[in-house]
Symmetry: D3
Subunit: 285 residues, 6 copies
């Protein structure tokens, strides 16, 4: 169950409203790197968590924090939309530099939301909940979270570099700091479970002896001319999970050319795709 305090987690100030930066901020709300994604991801992972309860607690705790981050960003969008142009005329009449504002802003901020934030990305594409990764496997989930905070922090850094508004920069440095923590936090959770090597290969509950033993630690090459694939840490030495030894080699097909045979009668294919035998048989039935 959830509760609310009408105050924001961290101050949100905008000194020079810029409708184009409002558009850019949408990526941090409804983009695949954005806050709706991590918020819903942590909450759904927590609600479905099976196993040790502390991970559920941690997931719901940070999921709750993220609701407040969406709120901060939504507020920042609304504040950046103060004084946005509402007509093509008022904008065209302006000087050329300022005159480009409407071209660069999100038109749906005028037409759909009435100068407020939307759950869409910086191109107005609505967030699609299939990006909420909650696999039921704790290690996979924690990795998904580290990764989400990595793209999230990259986005926050890019937004920080895009603006020179002091209020926006301060807010973004706070969000960047939280992403630093969260990257560390989810990795710490894996450490807490025994460490990444122990967790791998994910899921570690599948009997390792059953998987194909010839292909589980070999870096395969697919060079057209059969050359050895590019070498690196991945082609020799102990594997990262400590359970195998890396090798490498060019791959050759081990299977055959598939032959699906003729199409079945009454399956909607062309007559030419059906075998004569098949058609005869069908008519006799």
């Amino acid at each position: 169950m959830f509760f609310n305090d009408p105050k924001l987690q961290f101050p949100v100030r905008v000194e020079k409203p810029d409708p184009r930066f409002a558009r850019a901020l949408q990526q941090a709300i409804g983009g695949v790197e954005g806050e709706i994604r991590v918020c819903m991801q942590y909450l759904f992972q927590g609600w479905s968590a099976r196993g040790p309860k502390k991970y559920r607690d941690m997931l719901l705790t940070t999921g709750t924090e993220e609701i407040g981050h969406i709120e901060m960003l939504a507020t920042a969008v609304a504040l950046n939309l103060e004084n946005a142009p509402l007509s093509l005329q008022e904008e065209m009449a302006a000087d050329p530099v300022a005159g480009s504002v409407m071209n660069g802003m999100a038109m749906k901020h005028i037409l759909s939301s009435g100068l407020g934030a939307m759950p869409v990305d910086s191109d107005g594409v609505p967030f699609d909940m299939s990006h909420v990764y909650a696999s039921g496997n704790t290690a996979a989930d924690m990795l998904a979270n580290v990764m989400a905070e990595s793209t999230g922090r990259a986005l926050a850094v890019r937004l920080h570099n895009m603006t020179d508004d002091p209020g926006m920069k301060e807010m973004l440095q706070f969000l960047i700091a939280r992403d630093t923590m969260h990257q560390n936090q989810w990795l710490a959770a894996i450490e807490d479970m025994g460490g990444l090597a122990s967790a791998m290969p994910i899921p570690n509950s599948h009997p390792r002896s059953e998987e194909n033993q010839e292909f589980n630690y070999v870096f395969l090459g697919f060079d057209k001319d059969g050359a050895e694939p590019v070498q690196g840490r991945w082609s020799s030495g102990t594997s990262m999970d400590g359970k195998g030894e890396f090798t490498s080699r060019p791959m050759q097909p081990l299977g055959e050319v598939p032959d699906l045979g003729p199409a079945r009668p009454k399956s909607g294919a062309q007559s030419e795709q059906e075998s004569l035998a098949g058609r005869l048989k069908e008519k006799l039935l």
Copy 2:
């Protein structure tokens, strides 16, 4: 540039075709954990790779392998659809157990693809390319790849547990082995770049001194009653990136209650949302 060999990378055999398993296999083709996702993800990451060229090479190499995995799974789907029911009648007339096949299979396998594979998941939802994560940041991309192979291997294990067809089990144990390698491989690439701690916080090019120093290593609690948040590896000790010290504490709002003020005239709000002053001003212009 790419080339083709009509033979498969690994043998695909189906002893007892099961149209319901054909449906399940679709998740490994067009699901968010599936092969189209990793294939396109590695290729797009490679095509956009800036920096050391060996990572580009490795990405394109494994992306090329994954095209062949889609091919193997598409073949497996088609083979499992041999003898699938084409009418509700032939199915209803069957014995009750077998009679449930059409209910459990993918109806679009009959209606749309004519008994072949489709780029959709096990519920017939088409794959959406926004799941191809290519951030331009090599470390974030490699983490996205480890994570993709983790959910991918979990899916392959679940599929393996769902069937008892020997051919399908053999194919899946091959794919499981490749996922083991690929989890290790992408992590090895991070090691190759200097290791995970060195890479973090991602992006490591943002000056760490500029991010908010009060909140970058603290696990914040959001308990309704202000309780200390759940403790673990994430709440004390050195942070995973080795650059900070974990602490924890309950969070309180640092910002104010936002006040967006009245709606602007001509913005499509209700009159009651607009200020009197605003309306007067608008009329004078």
Copy 3:
């Protein structure tokens, strides 16, 4: 800013787990009539609210309640998935009635979420945030909310009628009661602003005298043979906003047949679509 209590808003009990009901409950989580929709809709409306602050408060308050409803339903899904079949074999071996469970359940509950809830509807279609209606117009938003609670309550009633599990029925009667309140609540908010008639036509800030006065209160007929359209409360008497008088009549075209003229050269059309003059002019430039 938001806070969490690990306890649920209302008890969630499942006496007889049914994986097919888990699938049905997904509609109340990730369907367009579901709780993610109302939760996000109220929060985004609140975060973007301009005008009297009490509506913002009310929106955030009830938006916060709805997070807890998603949590209840996610818990109910997980509990209904206890003992779900994991393989086609264990299921096929069962008696015919029970044997149909896997056919009717959501396959992604096995393959993707590991027996937990997902932000998708009962067919596995992910929730799309474009269903979060927040228009910046308070009256339109409140109507959107009454409507959302109407389809939401219809869905809860249908789910209630679909099961005979006492725990599930009790939970659903609680959710049905909350939907009763919320339907009343959003309508009360419109009353609080002055009432529906006063709010209409939405937006009421557009000068009514400027809209086309011939067509703003007439019910138009489009019968092929020019018959008078079906009569009712909408064809005579005072209009619902009290600002007009309903009439009705068959409609005839008032515009002309559009003629877009020939295609422009270099616009990618066929030569046959371009005018001779246009092609000549283009060649001379």
Copy 4:
């Protein structure tokens, strides 16, 4: 069955073609507030209408009108695209103000449609038919229609405010007038069925005595500190459906902390998530 007259329902004139306004008009075609949505919504509601036939008639009548509105807007888009720039060069060579046209217009109007309308919104996002609400419950459907016409009229007003082209303003004042009528019309249909209070809570066919009687008319607070929720018409007095009395109070959790227990073997979780007993049992089977 449907019929066509090649003439438009109302004149569509564009005096000063503006490709950027063509983009804005797309919102009224393929946006969630647009005409495809209401057209398909009324038609599908009509085709599925059970109960008194006059509502079906009314729905199909107005659904038919809306096809003609899409046609008017599609024509307006095409006319606004006359003389749109086809190359970046011709545009960059122009004066700075006019030079921004290509930046602000919809690039797919050049690349995909060849200077014609598309079933997409002002950001080029295709219309998604899940926005067609047809619930099988007449009252819920009528409310959905009032709401659709509310956001539709808000959009038309915003478009009207964005342009100063006399032809476009005239067309939009016609569409605004029709939205006025349609808001009134769908509300009149509810009146015709007995009125909104009688219809509520929707669906009114669910026995009211069965829903949870403690929570069906209480406005619940979720303030972090347990404060009384914001007061208004919704917290005291007779409820809007006339069937209850509004009260209010802070909410406390009534449920427990959920415990989903350990993960099942063979469900794709990590070993650490599985119980020892569970694993032993699985091995014995």
Copy 5:
């Protein structure tokens, strides 16, 4: 402008309602092969048609017919849902064969539409308007229409083969006949414009001499071992547009290995991706 007759274009009778066939019919409404697609495609093509007006007339005429086809199918869905099970219990109690109905039917027909049709496919995936192809090029559009009617007729044939209800079979044979006509009709339109060879390569307005003359009529092979590609009508003889001579040969790369160089500072990449020079330069600015 459009008009309506409340009667159907062709009789729709269902003798033995089957909720599972209702689900299958959804593919013909909201599937990519369905009637919403062709309806909207012909209308949008017509509304955007530039060039000879008769094609616009023909497109709007047949687009109008297709609205009535959606109506017929929506009626067929509703009639097939008579007596559909509303609860898991009533269904589980039934005999095994009939008992599988709820597993095979569309759950949203109960939960979302109240036993009516929806604009979704047979898996409940909503129709996405990006499938409405209207390119502004008449020949491309007509080909898109022939193709749409081909997949449409294949779908209708598959539906026909799936049922033995006489009323449904009669309706489908009517729709199959209309698809026969429409395939012929759109091809006849191309003939009317001068024929397919004359129209090709589409768009025929691009100066043929400017396209790369070495690669416009050669079938290229991409065999891993450099083998000659598979021969057929496409590898020798006059090309189908009569403007070239088919040849074939294995392809070799003509381009170089791309090198995108180091990442730019402040672009959110890892430090390791940036060049030293680049970082120095950025600091000096």
Copy 6:
């Protein structure tokens, strides 16, 4: 199975990087007319091909070529993003003409991909795999391919007309040439199977005598006033498949007004929609 050569199929040079052209090129990668679509379409058609094996070979061959086309375009996007503005300030400070670059470029190229290509269209809408048409019917598939290459070539021509960069023009003239070949190639495949007339009506395996013989070659009119429909090659003469004779006539409804009857109790409708008899019956059960 697939192989890779790190070199490109054809040289990709950009003389004057233009971030706005990078955005336009995205349409050729992730638009519905783009290369991901044809690549995946040919591969999936090949993987599911039943019948003569040479068509499978041809499909996989050209599908393999198309992977290399995505690669070329992705490289072109990255090269056009060299020197793209990273902040609103650096751009606003520029002269007005150049200053509009950020407004016209794809903001996700900065925020999401770090100056690389994405699998999205020119508006940032991700490619949706439902556009991969693979019907299991060879003739329908080949037509889908001709059509895809038609819109693809129209797009390439439009891109060519949009730029004056010599490198980009050379690359596009190569792609235009390949589209010329591919249009011819797929049509040649139909010829190879016996020709278009023989293939029609698709699917030609459905017994023609069973389809409705009154409506399979008649062009129907839907003029409101019953006028004869527009005449052309489609209204008289031998049909394109050579199997019928075109006629034309105005259509009248042959069906009745549908009556779905009252709503069933417990189906979530309003009481007013239910019949008295129905409600009584339900209570007695």
